[in-house]
């Protein structure tokens, strides 16, 4: 193996490349990315960066010079046109690049509103890339009226930033409650109250019928017939895996690029990692949209390219910052039947998801210790006594040794 080509310049790519070099790979590495910048952290885009608290230099995962030091050829601002698997080349920008191994770390793309309901009007934004956020930043001025469509983490984070900047914010969620897809009602209640206390209007169980205006958005019609005047709109209605290249190349897909336990696609010379890839999990397949997964899968693929033969064991964790509240999540809550609450007062609270006696996941608000201990318990397959969890005075750390 002498040339590894990586398509998609995000977190998974940066981790994969670093691990290849750390593992002693001394062949060529080429990193191709559509965005004109080196890999950066996306999470702050909807948080500190949008708020203006974090500069561009701190967004970069590694300084640009690092890629030179690691002898990585950067092809940024370039779109790959296709992958020719028979010839083992990728076509881009009027040339072809031969690969021995190819890694697809293409990430995900945000869902947009259909044009028929105003999705293409000026002043309607999604939050995914640096360019997206730079384009919307000027809208965040005191007195402006924002509509946020979607009550997931991206929508809630954008609502928090807008509110802090003096924007009048209405958030609509078509489902019965915010965070319905990802969290228990207790967590939804916590964040509804938090946003309410900052003056954000949250309307649940109310879908968007259409955005109106033109060429710039000026209003919204909701499913219940009500109308709003708006100055700009942020759409946070989920993301989907970026699989267009893989699909055109005929790779097996199943909620993303289907990889085996080691990160290999249906073509043994092509690997995938991060948001774009689904991997075997619990008898089915799982695809995670998180930094932790991008790092772990990226590193695993690098090791397996070098022959390690390791299977992927997902260690899911996530975070979200809204106002001064820090939410940290460990584990996957799918299948929970009971929530155990640990409430230390003053907004320091954690919700522990159990299925029977088994601990599945923890949502911790402003309680990093609960998160850190919970994460290790889940990874170790330990399920602590619910009474200990519910006792806010009980020290959690001894549970790690129980």
């Amino acid at each position: 193996m002498s040339h590894v080509v990586v398509i998609g310049a995000g977190q998974a790519a940066a981790s994969l490349i670093a691990k290849l070099r750390a593992g002693g790979f001394d062949g060529r590495i080429t990193l191709v990315g559509e965005e004109p910048v080196v890999p950066y952290q996306r999470p702050p885009l909807s948080k500190a960066y949008l708020l203006g608290d974090m500069g561009l230099d701190r967004l970069y995962l590694r300084p640009e010079a690092w890629y030179g030091e690691q002898d990585v050829t950067l092809r940024l601002g370039v779109r790959v046109e296709r992958i020719d698997r028979d010839a083992k080349v990728v076509a881009l920008d009027g040339e072809t690049i031969a690969y021995d191994m190819l890694a697809l770390t293409t990430g995900s793309v945000p869902n947009r509103l259909p044009n028929a309901i105003g999705g293409a009007l000026d002043g309607v934004y999604t939050v995914r890339t640096l360019a997206d956020v730079d384009a919307m930043a000027h809208e965040f001025r005191a007195g402006a009226r924002a509509l946020i469509v979607g009550g997931g983490y991206i929508g809630l984070e954008a609502a928090a930033v807008a509110s802090k900047r003096g924007v009048t914010v209405t958030l609509v969620e078509a489902a019965e409650r915010i965070l319905q897809r990802v969290a228990a009602p207790q967590t939804s209640d916590y964040f509804r109250a938090l946003h309410g206390s900052h003056g954000v209007t949250i309307r649940e169980g109310v879908g968007l019928k259409a955005l109106t205006g033109g060429p710039r958005v000026s209003g919204a019609e909701l499913a219940d017939g009500s109308r709003l005047d708006v100055d700009f709109v942020i759409v946070g209605v989920g993301i989907r895996p970026a699989v267009a290249l893989a699909e055109a190349a005929g790779l097996a897909l199943d909620n993303g690029i289907a990889v085996d336990a080691q990160g290999r696609s249906s073509d043994p010379a092509i690997w995938a990692a991060g948001d774009c890839a689904s991997f075997p999990h619990g008898g089915g397949r799982l695809r995670l949209e998180s930094v932790g997964n991008a790092i772990d899968m990226g590193e695993l693929v690098a090791e397996n390219m070098l022959g390690a033969g390791k299977d992927y064991v997902a260690r899911p964790w996530f975070w979200s910052d809204q106002y001064d509240t820090k939410l940290q999540i460990a584990g996957l809550n799918t299948g929970w039947d009971e929530i155990v609450t640990r409430d230390s007062g003053g907004g320091v609270v954690s919700f522990w998801y159990y299925a029977g006696a088994r601990l599945l996941a923890v949502d911790a608000m402003n309680d990093s210790r609960a998160y850190m201990v919970g994460k290790r318990l889940i990874e170790a397959g330990k399920s602590p006594d619910k009474a200990v969890i519910a006792d806010a005075a009980a020290d959690l750390k001894p549970l790690l040794k129980a």
Binding site: Q41, R62, L400
Partner: protein, 103 residues
């Protein structure tokens, strides 16, 4: 020129725990591991400048409380990202029940 600074009493830190230590306008952590070894490193995570004194010490490692980067307290090396840069470490010694750090 580094000096040995009297930072705390050994009894100020429980086994597998950490305290923050500020000195000369800088912030450090002092960690006591499960075998009563003491370590001193920079006090802020190299990833997003979070205080590691709120982190979780397990044996001789410390986990950042915000994004779960894990560092080896003896060497400062990143064991688990997202941090990319290692922590600076500083020598320690214990004399008469006091922990001294060479800063």
């Amino acid at each position: 020129m580094a000096d040995w600074i009297d930072a705390c009493a050994t009894g100020d830190i429980a086994a597998e725990d950490v305290i923050r230590f500020d000195h000369g306008g800088r912030t450090f952590v002092i960690v006591r591991d499960h075998e009563d070894n003491f370590y001193c490193t920079d006090g802020l995570c190299t990833h997003e400048e979070i205080h590691l004194s709120d982190g979780l010490v397990v044996e001789a490692t410390i986990e950042c409380p915000k994004h779960s980067s894990i560092f080896d307290c003896a060497t400062g090396e990143v064991e688990t990202p997202p941090a990319c840069e290692d922590l600076h470490t500083y020598a320690t010694k214990v004399e008469n029940g006091r922990v001294f750090v060479e800063i």
